[in-house]
C-alpha cells in the first residue's frame, strides 16, 4: 500500500512521512501466489471525506477528513486508530454502508458507487449480528448466494467453511444458540465463503479469547497465502504487528502515518540495553549519565543506552571498571509504543491548533 503522492491532498503524508511505493521490508506481496506486481491497487481512496450533519441543529460532525491511500493487491494492511478515529467510517464507506460526503474510491478497479464493486469483496462488520432463527449452514448459503455463488456450490462452500471455522458439528443449530466467539467465527466464514479477492475486516479479533484470536490470525495468514488482499482494523496491536505488511495510523479522522511495520519501527530512535552483573556499586560517569538509564532487577543491572552509537564508549568504560557484561540487546519500540507516540503527537498538535495565535 502506498499513500498518494499528491501534495495538495489535505490528508497526504508530509515530508516526515515519506510515501512508500512498495513494502520495503516485511513480506513482498508480489511474491505470493495470485499476486502480480503490475495489478492496480485493490483499494484506491482519493480524498474521501465524511461529515455528518444533525438533521435538526444542522451541526456538522467531522467523521473523516479527506483521506487518500492505496492498498496493493495481495498485501495485509492494518488500519489502526483509537475509538472514534474514523476506521469503521472508512470501512463502511468502502463497503457501501455509508455515502461519502466527498471523494472517490475504487475496489479492485470498480468505483464504490457501483454495486458490482462488492462482488469480489468480503466484509466482516464489527461485532456482527445474524438472524437468530437461521442455522449456520442456511446463513452461509444465503450470503454466498447473495455474493453470486450458484446454489449447489454455495451449499458446498457453506458446509466447508463451517467445518473450517470449527462449527461443522453445529451446522443445523439455530444461530441464537451460538456463543459470541462462534458468531465471530461464523462472521469470518461469511466474509470468506465466496472466496473474495479482497477481505475487509472490522475489528476481527474483538471479543475473542486467545484461542479465538489465534484462529483468526491463522485464517488471515491462510488468506494471505492464497493471495487475498486483507484490510483490517484492530485495536490489538501485537496481532497487527504479526500479520501486516503495512499499517496506517488514523487519529481524529486524519491519516497520521502509513508505512511498513518494519519502517515504522526502524524509523524511530533505537536504544540498546547492556546487562551487567548485579550487586556492584558503581556510578555512571558524568559524560555518559545523560544518555544512560539504570535499572536494577534481580541479580543483574540493566543499562539502557539511548544513543547506540556510544555503545563502544560505554563498553570500554565497563571493561575499565571491571564490571562483567552479561549481554547487549538492541531495543526497538513496539508498534504499540509507536501508536501511542503518534496519538500523543496528534493531541499535542490539536492543542497547538486550538491555541490562539
Amino acid at each position: 500500500m502506498s499513500m498518494t503522492s499528491n501534495p495538495s491532498a489535505p490528508n497526504a503524508l508530509n515530508a516526515d512521512h515519506q510515501p512508500l511505493a512498495a513494502p520495503a521490508s516485511g513480506r513482498p506481496a508480489a511474491g505470493r501466489p495470485g499476486v502480480t506486481s503490475d495489478s492496480g491497487p485493490a483499494v484506491s481512496i482519493r480524498g474521501i471525506t465524511k461529515h455528518y450533519r444533525h438533521p435538526w441543529t444542522q451541526k456538522v460532525t467531522r467523521g473523516l477528513e479527506p483521506l487518500s491511500l492505496d492498498v496493493h493487491r495481495g498485501e495485509v494492511f492494518g488500519y489502526l486508530g483509537p475509538n472514534g478515529a474514523g476506521k469503521t467510517t472508512t470501512l463502511k464507506i468502502l463497503t457501501g454502508l455509508l455515502k461519502p460526503t466527498a471523494g472517490t474510491a475504487t475496489i479492485l478497479g470498480v468505483p464504490i458507487e457501483r454495486v458490482s464493486s462488492r462482488t469480489r469483496m468480503g466484509f466482516l462488520p464489527e461485532q456482527p449480528y445474524f438472524y437468530d432463527s437461521l442455522t449456520g449452514v442456511e446463513y452461509l448459503e444465503f450470503v454466498a448466494r447473495l455474493s453470486g455463488m450458484p446454489g449447489r456450490e454455495a451449499t458446498r462452500a457453506a458446509r466447508a467453511w463451517l467445518a473450517k471455522v470449527g462449527l461443522g458439528e453445529r451446522e443445523r443449530q439455530a444461530l441464537r444458540k451460538y456463543s459470541k466467539g462462534m458468531l465471530q467465527r461464523l462472521g469470518l466464514a461469511a466474509a470468506m465463503v465466496h472466496e473474495p479477492e479482497l477481505l475487509i475486516l472490522d475489528e476481527p479479533m474483538s471479543g475473542l479469547d486467545p484461542f479465538g484470536r489465534r484462529d483468526v490470525r491463522d485464517l488471515i495468514l491462510e488468506q494471505r497465502e492464497r493471495g487475498t488482499t486483507v484490510l483490517f482494523s484492530s485495536h490489538i496491536l501485537p496481532d497487527v504487528e504479526a500479520l501486516c505488511d503495512r499499517v496506517a495510523i488514523l487519529l481524529e479522522g486524519r491519516l497520521e502515518r502509513v508505512a511498513t511495520v518494519g519502517d515504522l519501527v526502524d524509523g524511530t530512535a533505537p536504544a540498546v540495553e547492556v546487562r551487567v552483573e548485579g550487586g556492584r556499586v558503581f556510578e555512571i560517569p558524568p559524560r555518559l549519565a545523560p544518555v544512560v538509564e539504570r535499572a536494577d532487577a534481580g541479580g543483574s543491572t540493566g543499562l539502557r543506552l539511548r544513543e547506540p552509537e556510544r555503545l563502544q564508549e560505554l563498553l570500554a568504560w565497563l571493561l575499565a571498571e571491571r564490571i562483567a557484561v552479561r549481554g547487549v540487546t538492541p531495543i526497538r519500540p513496539s508498534l504499540e509504543q509507536l501508536f501511542m507516540a503518534a496519538a500523543e503527537k496528534s493531541a499535542f498538535h490539536a492543542q497547538d491548533v486550538r491555541r490562539p495565535a
Binding site: T119, P125, Y131, S133, V143
Partner: protein, 254 residues
C-alpha cells in the same frame, strides 16, 4: 433473482417467528368461536361465520403487518444484520423488494391456512360450494395485505418501528375511509376540498379489496373486479416501493 433470495430468507425468518405461529393458532380459535356464536345470529349463522371468518383473516393479517412488517427493515438496521447484506452486491431497492415479497408470501401462507380452515369448517356443515367465494375473498384480502405491507416496509426503512406502525395504521384507516373522505371533500370549500381529495387519492383504495358481503352470501365477484384489484395493488405497491427505494438509497448505516 437476488430479491428472491432475500424474500426466501425473510419468509423463513417470519414463519419461524413465534408471533406468526401464535397468530395462526389465534385465527383458528377465532374461527371456532365464530361458529359457536352463529346460533345467536337468528338464522344468519352461516353468513356470520363466513363474514367473521374472512374478517379475522384480514385483521390478523393486519396484526402481522403491524407487528412484523413495520419492524422488518428497522429491526435489521438496529441489530446491524443489514450490514452483512448491503455490503454484498445487493442493490438496496432489491433488498426492499425482497423484504416486502418475503412477508407478503408469509401473509399469503397465513391467509391460505385460515381460508382453508374456514372452508373445511363450512364443508363439514354441508356448504362446500362456498369454496369459490372464499377463495376470491382470500385472494383480495391478500392483495389488501400486500398493499398495507408495502407501506409498512417503506415506513420501516425510514423510521422507527413504533412510528412505522402508527403511520401504517393511519394509512390503513385512511384507506378504509377513502370513499367517505371523498364524499366529505365534496362539501368543503375548494382549497380544503383539493387537499382532502389529494389525501384520499394518496391513501390506498382498500374498499376495492373487500368482497366479504358477497362471499358471505356465497356469491362470486367478476373477473374484471379481480383483474382491476390486482392491477391496482401491483401499481400501488410498485409506487410505494419505488418511493421507499429512492429514500433508502441515500441512507447511511452508522
Amino acid at each position: 433473482m437476488i430479491a428472491l433470495l432475500v424474500a426466501r430468507n425473510t419468509f423463513r425468518e417470519v414463519v419461524r417467528d413465534r408471533v406468526l405461529l401464535g397468530i395462526v393458532v389465534g385465527g383458528l380459535l377465532l374461527l371456532g368461536v365464530t361458529r359457536l356464536a352463529s346460533p345467536l345470529a337468528m338464522g344468519e349463522g352461516l353468513r356470520l361465520t363466513v363474514d367473521l371468518g374472512l374478517s379475522s383473516i384480514s385483521w390478523l393479517g393486519l396484526l402481522v403487518v403491524l407487528t412484523v412488517g413495520t419492524a422488518l427493515v428497522s429491526k435489521e438496521i438496529d441489530r446491524r444484520t443489514i450490514f452483512n447484506l448491503l455490503s454484498r452486491p445487493l442493490p438496496r431497492p432489491l433488498y426492499l423488494l425482497g423484504k416486502w415479497l418475503g412477508l407478503t408470501l408469509a401473509l399469503a401462507a397465513v391467509s391460505a391456512i385460515l381460508g382453508t380452515a374456514l372452508w373445511l369448517m363450512l364443508a363439514a356443515l354441508g356448504h362446500a360450494a362456498y369454496a369459490g367465494s372464499i377463495s376470491e375473498a382470500v385472494f383480495l384480502a391478500n392483495l389488501e395485505l400486500a398493499v398495507i405491507n408495502s407501506l409498512a416496509v417503506m415506513f420501516s426503512a425510514l423510521s422507527t418501528p413504533v412510528l412505522s406502525a402508527l403511520y401504517t395504521l393511519g394509512f390503513f384507516l385512511g384507506g378504509q375511509w377513502c370513499d367517505d373522505l371523498r364524499r366529505f371533500a365534496s362539501h368543503c370549500p375548494p382549497g380544503l376540498r383539493a387537499m382532502i381529495e389529494g389525501a384520499a387519492n394518496v391513501m390506498p383504495n382498500l374498499p376495492l379489496f373487500n368482497m366479504r358481503t358477497l362471499a358471505s352470501g356465497g356469491e362470486l365477484t367478476t373477473w374484471t373486479h379481480l383483474g382491476l384489484a390486482s392491477a391496482y395493488a401491483a401499481l400501488y405497491c410498485a409506487c410505494v416501493l419505488a418511493l421507499a427505494s429512492a429514500a433508502f438509497e441515500s441512507r447511511d448505516f452508522k
